[in-house]
Amino acid sequence: MKSSTPPHKSSILPPNKENWITKNPFEEFKTFTASTPGLPMDQIVQSTEAVMDRIRWGYEKLLEEEAKELVWMVQYNTIIKAYEVAEKYVKEINYTAEDIEDFCFALENTQRIPYLIPGPAGIYLSALCNYANEEEMVLKLSELKTEINLVGFRLPKGKRLMIEGDTGDFTGIGLEGGELVIDGNAKNWTGAGMRGGKILIKKNIGLHTGEWMMGGEIYVGGRVRGLGNIVEGKVYEREKLLYPGKVRYPNIYY
C-alpha cells in the first residue's frame, strides 16, 4: 500500500553540503611529492642552456689563457699549446653535435660571447668536434661573417666533419685520419702538416696547400691557387692529380 507521507527531504540529502563529495578521487596521490611544475620542453631548454653555458665558459677560459699568442703569432707550437688548453675544458663537458652547432651560431649572434677571434674559435671548435660522441658532424658556418681558422685541426680517424660555408687559413692542419668536407672555399695553408685522412674542398683553395703534409689526400673541386712544400700525400684538382706531378716548385703553379 502506498505510503501517505512522503519521506522527508532531510532523510535523503546529507546533513551538510560538505559531505556531498567526500571521496577524493586522487587519494593515492596525496603523498606524491609534486616536482616543480614544468613541461618537458622547458626541461629540455633548461638542460641545453646549461650545456651551452659550459661550452661558452671553456671558450672564455681559452681566450683568457691563449688568445694573445694565437692572435699575433700563429706558430705550430702556440697552436698545440692552445689546443691542449681547449682539450682540457672540452673533456669536462657532456655535449652533443647539436650543441657544437648551437655554439657556432652563438659565436656571432649573442652578446654573451665577448669576441670572435678566428684562431681560438677554430681551435676550440676542433677540440669540440674531436671529442664529440658522434662520428659524423655538420657545422653551418655559412652565416658567419668571419671565416674561422684552424677548423678540423687534428680530426681523428673515424670522424667525418662537414662544414657548410667558407673557412679561413690553416683548415684541416695536422689531420689525423679523419674526413673533412668543406662545402665552400678554404684559404691558405690548408692541410698543412696533415698525416693522413682526406680533405674535400668543394670550391677553391688558397696558397701553401699541403705545406709539410706527411700523408693523406686533398681533393679540390675548384682551383688550387698554390701548393706548399709537400713531403708525402696527394693533391687533386678537379679529379686531376696535381701532386705528385709536374709541379716542382711551391706557389708558382699559377
Partner: protein, 434 residues
C-alpha cells in the same frame, strides 16, 4: 605456478604468446588460471577444435578439485533449443504429481565451475540469463533460489559462421577478459594428436560418482556444499599423490583471494590506468563518449583513442583490469601492481569491449599480426597510450597530486596538459568546488 606448469607441460600444449617481466606465458592458460582464482568471467574464442573448452576444463579441475567427468557433466552446451530447465533447474516431477513444488537444480547451477560451450550459438535471452546468474551468484527457478558463494564462468565462442548468433555488446561487456585459444603450431599439434589419453590424468570414476550422488541428492543446497567440498578435498589429495600437483582447497582459494585483494596499484599503474580510461571515455564536445554520437570536426583531441572508437568504456573495465592485474601480481609474487601487470592484462580486458570506427578497422585489418584482430587492436592501443604515458608520467602524477591537494582544501590551480585526463581532473575539481 605449479598448476600452470603442469597444464602447459602435460595437458594443453601451446606456445607462449605473452611476456611479462621477462617470463613467457601462454595467454589462454594464464588468463584461465586468473579467471578461476579471481572468480572472473572469461570468453575464449578460437577456431573449432583448438582447445577452447578443454583448456578451461583442465584449469577448473585443478583449481576447484573437480574430476573432469563432473565438469563435463555440468557444462552447458550452446544450441538454439537450449532451455532454462536444462541450464538452471526443473520442477521435481514426482513431487509435482503429488501437488508439491520443488526444484531439481542442474549441476551447472550448483558447482562453482561454470563452463558454457559455444555461447554464441545460444539465443541472446539465454546468454543473458546465464550472465545475470553469474553476475549475482543467484540462480532462480519457480519460487526457489540457490546462492553460489564461489563461481567463475568460462564461455567459448567460435568465429562467426552460419550457425552462430552474435553476442550483443552489453553481454560482451560482462566478460572480464577475452582470450584466443590458438593453434599450437604443426609440431605441437602433432603431439596433441598422438597423445589421446591425456584426459584420463584428471578422471576419477569413484569421486565422480560420489559427487554426482551428492549433487542429485534431495537435501538443501546449503547442506550439499560441505559434502561436495569433502569429496573435492579427497580428489585433491589424490591429485597430489598421483601427479604431484598441489590443487587448492576452498580455504586455500579464500586465502589466495584475500592476499590478492591486499595488492594495490602503485602510482604509475594508477596514473596509467586513469590515462587509458580517459582516452576511452572522453569527448570534449559532448561531455563523454556515446555510441550514437560522432566526433566533430575541429576537435582538439584528434590524436587520442577517443577519436578512433565509437563506444564508451564501461565501469566494468577498470574493475576487470584491477582484478586480473591483482591476480597476475600475486602469481608473480610482486608486492604491488605495477604498470607492467596493467599493460599485460589490458589488451585482454579491452579487446572485446572496444568498438572501433570503420576507418580504423579498414586501416589496420591487413596489418601483419599474430593475435586475433580485436586483441591486436587493443595491444596497439595499449602501446600508444604507454608511449604517451612515458612522455608525461611525471607531469600527470603532479597533476593528480595537485588534484588531491585541491580536494583536501588546498588553494592551488589544477595543472594544464595536452591530454583528456587533465580535463577530467579539472572537471572533478570543479565539481568539488561548486
Amino acid at each position: 605456478m605449479g598448476i600452470y606448469r603442469f597444464i602447459s607441460e602435460h595437458l594443453y600444449f601451446n606456445r607462449p604468446d605473452m611476456v611479462i617481466k621477462g617470463e613467457r606465458f601462454n595467454s589462454a592458460i594464464l588468463l584461465s588460471l586468473l579467471t578461476g582464482l579471481k572468480k572472473g568471467k572469461e570468453l575464449i574464442i578460437g577456431e573449432p577444435g583448438l582447445g577452447k573448452t578443454t583448456s578451461a576444463e583442465y584449469v577448473c579441475s585443478l583449481i576447484y578439485q573437480f574430476p573432469l567427468g563432473v565438469i563435463w557433466g555440468s557444462e552447458v552446451s550452446g544450441h538454439p533449443e537450449q532451455t532454462e530447465e536444462k541450464i538452471i533447474g526443473r520442477p521435481d516431477l514426482g513431487k509435482l504429481n503429488r501437488g508439491e513444488e520443488d526444484v531439481v537444480w542442474t549441476n551447472f547451477s550448483q558447482i562453482p565451475v561454470k563452463i558454457v560451450d559455444e555461447i554464441n550459438r545460444l539465443p541472446e535471452t539465454k546468454q543473458s540469463m546465464i550472465l545475470d546468474g553469474v553476475d549475482r551468484g543467484n540462480w532462480e527457478y519457480l519460487n526457489e533460489m540457490i546462492i553460489n558463494e564461489e563461481y567463475c564462468l568460462f564461455a567459448t565462442a567460435n568465429y562467426q559462421d552460419g550457425g552462430t548468433n552474435t553476442i550483443i555488446a552489453p553481454l560482451v561487456d560482462r566478460f572480464d577478459v577475452m582470450v584466443e585459444s590458438r593453434h599450437p603450431g604443426a609440431n605441437l599439434s602433432f603431439l596433441v594428436g598422438k597423445d589421446k589419453r591425456k584426459d584420463h590424468i584428471l578422471r576419477h570414476p569413484k569421486y565422480e560418482k560420489d559427487l554426482y550422488h551428492v549433487l542429485k541428492s534431495k537435501v538443501p543446497y546449503e547442506k550439499k556444499t560441505p559434502k561436495i567440498e569433502e569429496v573435492c578435498n579427497a580428489y585433491g589429495e589424490y591429485l597430489d599423490e598421483a601427479i604431484g600437483v598441489k590443487s587448492f582447497q576452498r580455504q586455500d582459494r579464500d586465502q589466495i583471494r584475500s592476499e590478492m585483494e591486499r595488492l594495490e596499484l602503485d602510482l604509475d599503474a594508477s596514473a596509467f590506468t586513469r590515462m587509458l580510461l580517459a582516452e576511452l571515455s572522453f569527448c570534449e564536445w559532448y561531455g563523454q563518449k556515446r555510441i550514437v554520437e560522432n566526433c566533430e570536426e575541429g576537435c582538439h583531441y584528434t590524436g587520442y583513442l577517443c577519436r578512433q572508437i565509437k563506444n564508451c568504456a564501461s565501469n566494468r573495465l577498470p574493475s576487470s583490469i584491477k582484478q586480473y592485474a591483482q591476480g597476475l601480481a600475486w602469481l608473480l609474487e610482486d608486492s604491488e601492481i605495477d604498470i607492467e601487470h596493467i599493460s599485460a592484462v589490458v589488451p585482454y580486458a579491452l579487446g572485446h569491449r572496444i568498438q572501433w570506427k570503420d576507418e580504423i578497422l579498414s586501416q589496420k585489418e591487413r596489418s601483419k599480426r599474430d593475435d586475433p584482430f580485436p586483441i591486436f587492436l587493443a595491444k596497439e592501443a595499449v602501446k600508444a597510450v604507454s608511449q604517451r604515458y612515458r612522455e608525461q608520467s611525471e607531469h600527470l602524477k603532479d597533476a593528480l597530486a595537485v588534484g588531491s591537494k585541491i580536494f583536501l582544501g588546498g588553494d592551488l590551480e589544477p595543472l594544464e596538459g595536452d591530454h583528456p585526463i587533465y580535463v577530467e581532473v579539472k572537471k572533478d575539481i570543479d565539481a568539488r568546488r561548486s
